[in-house]
Each structure stands twice: as structure tokens, then as C-alpha cells.
């Protein structure tokens, strides 16, 4: 066992692999999650993010490598001996118990005296704004309320790490956005490490201190939301966080003189008429035809075709333009201009 000091990460993966038959669900992952941070595992389905969460919880045992919790190797400990709690994707509320019994379940297991059990359950229901609903059955609650019960049930045990497996996946957009803010607030209030799994990049950007991007059982990049958005290091990250605007091969050589692919974010690109004056030396310019226009109210998304195999997405705010203006732009020849400084070189 390692000595615990301020720099000991809450969770450490050391060369962790988990295979299911031929499928490498998690493939030699190394990762440090710091104490007190809101850490998100982001990736498409089947990328290994949920398996990583289950490895931390103890529902899966790694085939190789080790998982440490605050410096202690927990790789072979069963879930009930680990100081982490989970909020499940389907909430996993016990249908035969009332809300208060669900929340108090862990306290009952730990043989907390009934008076204290009741007090802590009440406090926790208050925290998730479900005060007075303790006597209901889970089936009598809405999706958002069930989600809060699941959260309260996990938090009431004061775990050092809370694991959340796509907890907002089943909620509608509006409720999801509200819950994002609320979850973040609760995390600040209780001050423990949250490990959050999602496939929704906006959710990840909105809530996280740091994000790990998963792809094919491996981590492509770890960083803060601005780092990942502004400095993606691989084409996959560039495409998964934000819109994929990757220029490769001939285009990359023409614009930067090197063959390495580059990406530029759609909101950095300006749309100009094809006959506008040539740009300055610290700007990039390409010409293309607008193939598609998606009017989204606040802004408009244009798909500009540079050649048969290359498109760029451009986003422009509708500051002066109206929907009639933007929709008539389809088929028009345009010049795309952006500052050279916004080019991001990617690993091939």
C-alpha cells in the first residue's frame, strides 16, 4: 500500500485490460483521476467507457493490470468492499421498497442506528429536492425524480468517489440540461470525486473538469474541455468533440506545406463571396460550393464542398442575415477564410 498524500490520485488505472471473448473492451488503459474532480469518460457506445466504470465499481475484474483507489490496490475486491457508489443508467431502484427505504438501504446494511439513518435519509432527500416524497414507491415517481433518488441513495453513504453511468440518458433535453447544472452543483457541495460516463459531448463539455476520450477500448486523449476542443491531437478527438473538420493529404500540403492532417473549428471560418479580395499572409483561404444549409435560429450551419471527397462545416451567427438570405445560399460559390493560428495539426 502506498502512503496517501495530497498528490495520490483518487483512482489510478495501471495497464488495465478487460476482454470479453475476442472483444478488447478495455485495452491497456493508464489513467489518473484526481481527488475532488468531475471526471468524464466520453466516447461512442462500445468504446470501453462503461466497462472502465464497472471496473472501478468492482462489477468487473481486470484481466491484467491494476486499479488503485487512493493508493490501495482494489483490483480483486468485490463491490461491497469498495468505498465507491454508483448511479446506474436504469437507476436500479428497488421496486418493492419506498423511496426512503431505497435511500436508507446502504445505511441499513452498515447498521447505522435508526434515528441517524432517518436523519441522513431526510437530509439527502432534501439535497436532491425530493423532500416529502420518502413514502412513495419508485413506480410513483417521474424519470427525473427516480434519477434523484438514485443519486441520493449513492451519496448518503458519503463515498469518496461517485460513479455515474449515463445517468441523464433517459431524460428529455430540457430536464437533462437542468440536471446537468444541478449535478455539478451537488458535486461542488459534497466535494467528492465524480466519475461520469456519457456519449453526449455537450454534456461532457458542460460539466467536466477533465474528460477522457475513449475509442476502441483505449483512451485517445485526456484534457480539460477547452484543451480537447481547441487542441485535439487525433482526428477521432477532433471529430467526436465538436464537428469533424479534418483536411488531409493534398489540402493539408497546400495550406501548411506538411502532409499531416489538420482541423479547424467551424465557427472560426468566415464565409466570403468568391470574388472577395485575397486574404493576408497569416490567413488560410479555400474555395468551394455550398451544398447544404441548416438554419438553426441562432446560427446557420453550412456544408461547403471543396472537392469530391472533402467537405468543411462552417457555422455563422445570424447577426444580420434572415432565414430567407441563408437558405438561398445553397449552390453558391464561396471563399472560406480563417486565421492560420486556428489550424490544429493532428497525429496522422
Amino acid at each position: 500500500m502506498t502512503a496517501i498524500d495530497a498528490t495520490t490520485p483518487a483512482i489510478r488505472f495501471r495497464g488495465v485490460s478487460r476482454h470479453f471473448g475476442d472483444v478488447h473492451a478495455v485495452d491497456r488503459v493508464d489513467l489518473d483521476i484526481l481527488d475532488g474532480e468531475f471526471f468524464t469518460m466520453l466516447g461512442p457506445s462500445g468504446s470501453g467507457k462503461t466497462t472502465c466504470l464497472r471496473l472501478i465499481a468492482g462489477f468487473e475484474i481486470p484481466d491484467s493490470g491494476a486499479i488503485e483507489l487512493f493508493g490501495q490496490d482494489v483490483s480483486s475486491l468485490p463491490p461491497y468492499d469498495r468505498d465507491v457508489n454508483t448511479v446506474f443508467q436504469d437507476y436500479a431502484l428497488f421496486p418493492h421498497m419506498r423511496v426512503a427505504e431505497n435511500v436508507a438501504y446502504g445505511l441499513m446494511i452498515r447498521k447505522v442506528p435508526p434515528a441517524e439513518r432517518r436523519r441522513r435519509t431526510e437530509d439527502m432527500l432534501e439535497l436532491v429536492r425530493l423532500h416529502g416524497l420518502g413514502a412513495r414507491k419508485p413506480s410513483e415517481l417521474s424519470g427525473g425524480q427516480r434519477q434523484r433518488v438514485a443519486l441520493a441513495r449513492a451519496l448518503v453513504l458519503h463515498p469518496r468517489v461517485l460513479l455515474l453511468d449515463e445517468p441523464l440518458g433517459a431524460l428529455d433535453l430540457k430536464l437533462r440540461q437542468e440536471m446537468q447544472i444541478e449535478l455539478k452543483g451537488i458535486q461542488r457541495q459534497v466535494g467528492i470525486t465524480f466519475v461520469y460516463v456519457t456519449h453526449d459531448q455537450e454534456e461532457a463539455l458542460a460539466m467536466s473538469d477533465r474528460i477522457a476520450i475513449f475509442n476502441g477500448g483505449r483512451i485517445e486523449q485526456v484534457g480539460s474541455p477547452p484543451e480537447l476542443y481547441e487542441n485535439p491531437t487525433t482526428p477521432f478527438v477532433a471529430g467526436f468533440v465538436g464537428v469533424s473538420n479534418v483536411l488531409g493529404g493534398e489540402w493539408a500540403r497546400r495550406l501548411t506545406g506538411a502532409a499531416a492532417p489538420l482541423t479547424v473549428r467551424p465557427e472560426k471560418i468566415h464565409l466570403q463571396p468568391a470574388d472577395s479580395p485575397s486574404p493576408g499572409p497569416d490567413q488560410c483561404a479555400v474555395e468551394g460550393v455550398i451544398r447544404d444549409v441548416v438554419y438553426l435560429g441562432m446560427y446557420t450551419r453550412y456544408l461547403v464542398e471543396l472537392d469530391a471527397t472533402t467537405d468543411l462545416t462552417v457555422v455563422q451567427q445570424n447577426l444580420q442575415t434572415t432565414s430567407t438570405d441563408v437558405l438561398s445560399a445553397r449552390g453558391r460559390r464561396v471563399r472560406l477564410v480563417w486565421d492560420r493560428a486556428h489550424n490544429r495539426r493532428l497525429a496522422a
Binding site: A57, G58, F59, P78, P79, Y80, V84, N85, T86, F88, Q89, D90, A92, F94, P95, H96, Y105, G106, I109, R110, R153, A154, L157
Partner: protein
């Protein structure tokens, strides 16, 4: 896909040829869901109400008639005489004997079926599960009578069970067990012990299947959540798995309990001279021609089952449904 087909269908009919008779009938029924419901449920409902509930009502009515022992005719005036007769010492013994047997058989079936059902619902691969379903159901493909008589041979004094015990030099054990009062007898094939064995064998599938079904409905995430909250597997079983699977156990026990209550073949083949409810009913209506008393006899297991179900409900067995 369906809408595309429907659209092209509509296009075709509009284009000329009138819609066929089948098409018009479909559309007619499509617009009248209540008529469809009536057509679907009419015959089964008629069957249930007229044949099933009707005969049940006749049975209960019969139990209030009485047999004129002088003429041997059933007299159709209402009386409670049959029910008074049920309370005689000999008859109460029959009821207690049968209910006790049914309870023990049910308990044994539950204890045997649960681990198998748990394995089938939680761990078995789909191939293994199919195989186990087949094995559980296979005995039901052969005649119940044949199986009971086969067991009579298996358990007989000269049968394979005795041979097995003597081959292991364990005759003393079998003899000792058979010497036990009440449950023993001259041989396993003529004893309550043998009856219990055969009852458990014939009703076990009816216990396994509902428990598998109810365990399959318990999401795995609930068990993980319980472990996540600190419960060891034993605690998870007591607090989560068992309460949630209880409706399946109750459903299975309704089968095993009521089937044992009403059975007359097993007591007839393997019992001694002491009667069970089924035998009493058989001999009352077959030999004594006392149909009213036989009817009153059958009302008792119905009452027992009603009390059993109410008790289960009171205990919360159906809360998780």
C-alpha cells in the same frame, strides 16, 4: 415499410381495380376495434363463464343437497348436513393429512426448484437454458399415470431402490426409515414417505418454471446496486432477490399445493388405507353415490386455497408484481 406498402396499395386501388373482398373486410375490422375484441374474446369468455364458472356453481349448489340413504336419491332441498358431516373426526383427519402432505410437498419443491431456477435465470447460457427447460418439461410429455405406476415399481420392496440400498449394505438405513411411525410402512411403495417422493417428482416442474420466469424479471442492475451499496451476496439475496422473486414462488406453490390437495392417483397407488381428499371424493361419488357429500368435500380444498392466497397477499407476496 408498412406505410410504403399501404401507400402503394392505395395507389393501386385508386388506379382502377376495386379493392378485393379481403381488403374491404380488413378495413371494416380496422375501423371497429371493439368488434375485433369481441370476436377474439367471445368464445374463450363463453367457455370460461358457461363451462367453467357454471360447473363450479353447480358443484357448490350440489354440496347443499343431501342423499336420502333409504332411496339412494339426491334430494334437492338445501341443507348444511354435508358440512356438518365434514367435521367428523375421520373427515377432519383426512383434511389435515392432505393439507400437511401438500404443505410438505410444496416446501420441498420450493427448496429443490429455487437453486435450479436461479441457475437457469442468472447463469445458464441460452443453449444450456434450452436444454434445462427441455429436461424439466420432458416428464410432462409422458402420461402421469404411467409415471406414478413406474414409481410404484421403483419404490417396491423388490424394486431398484431396495436393491440399491442393499448393494451399498445400507438395508438397515432403509429399514430404519420405514420403521418410523406415520411416515414409514411395509415398503416405500406403501408409505407416506413414498407418496411424498412421488408428489415432489410429479409437481416439481410446476414450481421450477414460474420461479425462473420471476427471477428473469429481476434486472441484474438491482443486484449490482445492492452489492454497490455494501450488501454481501447473502444479504442481497434476502433483501432483493427473494422478495422480488416471491410472486414466482407463490405461483409455483399454488400449483404444487392445489395439485397435491386434489390428487387421488398417488395416494391410491402408493398410500396405505388412510384416505386423502381426492380418494375420499372418488369413493364418495364412485362407490357410495353420495354426490352432495363429495361436492362438499371438494369445497374444502377451494377454501384452503382461498385462505392461502389471501394470506400470501397479506404478507406482501404480490407487492412486487
Amino acid at each position: 415499410m408498412a406505410t410504403v406498402e399501404a401507400a402503394s396499395q392505395a395507389g393501386r386501388t385508386r388506379a382502377g381495380s376495386p379493392p378485393g373482398r379481403g381488403h374491404r373486410l380488413s378495413t371494416y375490422l380496422y375501423r371497429r376495434p371493439k368488434l375485433v375484441l369481441l370476436l377474439l374474446l367471445g368464445v374463450p369468455l363463453l367457455w370460461l363463464v358457461a363451462v367453467y364458472l357454471g360447473s363450479l356453481a353447480t358443484l357448490i349448489l350440489q354440496s347443499f343437497f343431501w342423499l336420502d340413504s333409504f332411496t339412494g336419491q339426491v334430494v334437492r332441498t338445501l341443507t348444511l348436513a354435508n358440512y356438518v358431516e365434514l367435521t367428523s373426526r375421520a373427515n377432519v383427519d383426512i383434511f389435515l393429512r392432505t393439507i400437511l402432505m401438500a404443505a410438505v410437498v410444496t416446501l420441498t419443491c420450493a427448496v429443490l426448484a429455487y437453486p435450479l431456477a436461479y441457475y437457469m435465470a442468472r447463469y445458464a447460457s441460452s443453449r444450456m437454458k434450452g436444454l434445462l427447460y427441455l429436461l424439466v418439461l420432458l416428464p410432462l410429455w409422458s402420461s402421469y399415470l404411467v409415471r406414478v405406476y413406474a414409481w410404484r415399481l421403483i419404490l417396491a420392496r423388490e424394486g431398484i431402490t431396495s436393491w440399491f440400498f442393499s448393494a451399498l449394505n445400507l438395508d438397515w438405513l432403509l429399514d430404519g426409515v420405514l420403521k418410523l411411525p406415520v411416515i414409514g410402512g411395509p415398503s416405500l411403495s406403501v408409505s407416506f414417505l413414498g407418496m411424498w417422493l412421488v408428489f415432489v417428482y410429479v409437481w416439481l416442474p410446476y414450481m421450477v418454471l414460474p420461479i425462473v420466469a420471476s427471477l428473469e424479471r429481476v434486472p441484474g442492475s438491482l443486484l449490482e446496486a445492492s452489492g454497490d451499496l455494501g450488501a454481501r451476496p447473502g444479504k442481497t439475496f434476502r433483501s432483493i432477490t427473494f422478495p422480488l422473486a416471491l410472486p414466482g414462488v407463490i405461483a409455483g406453490s399454488i400449483f404444487t399445493f392445489s395439485l397435491t390437495l386434489g390428487d387421488f392417483v398417488v395416494p391410491y397407488s402408493l398410500g396405505n388405507s388412510s384416505y386423502f381428499i381426492g380418494q375420499a371424493v372418488l369413493s364418495l361419488q364412485g362407490t357410495a353415490w353420495n354426490i352432495p357429500l363429495a361436492a362438499a368435500f371438494t369445497v374444502v380444498p377451494m377454501g384452503v386455497m382461498a385462505i392461502y392466497l389471501l394470506g400470501s397477499k397479506r404478507l406482501g407476496a404480490f407487492d412486487a408484481l
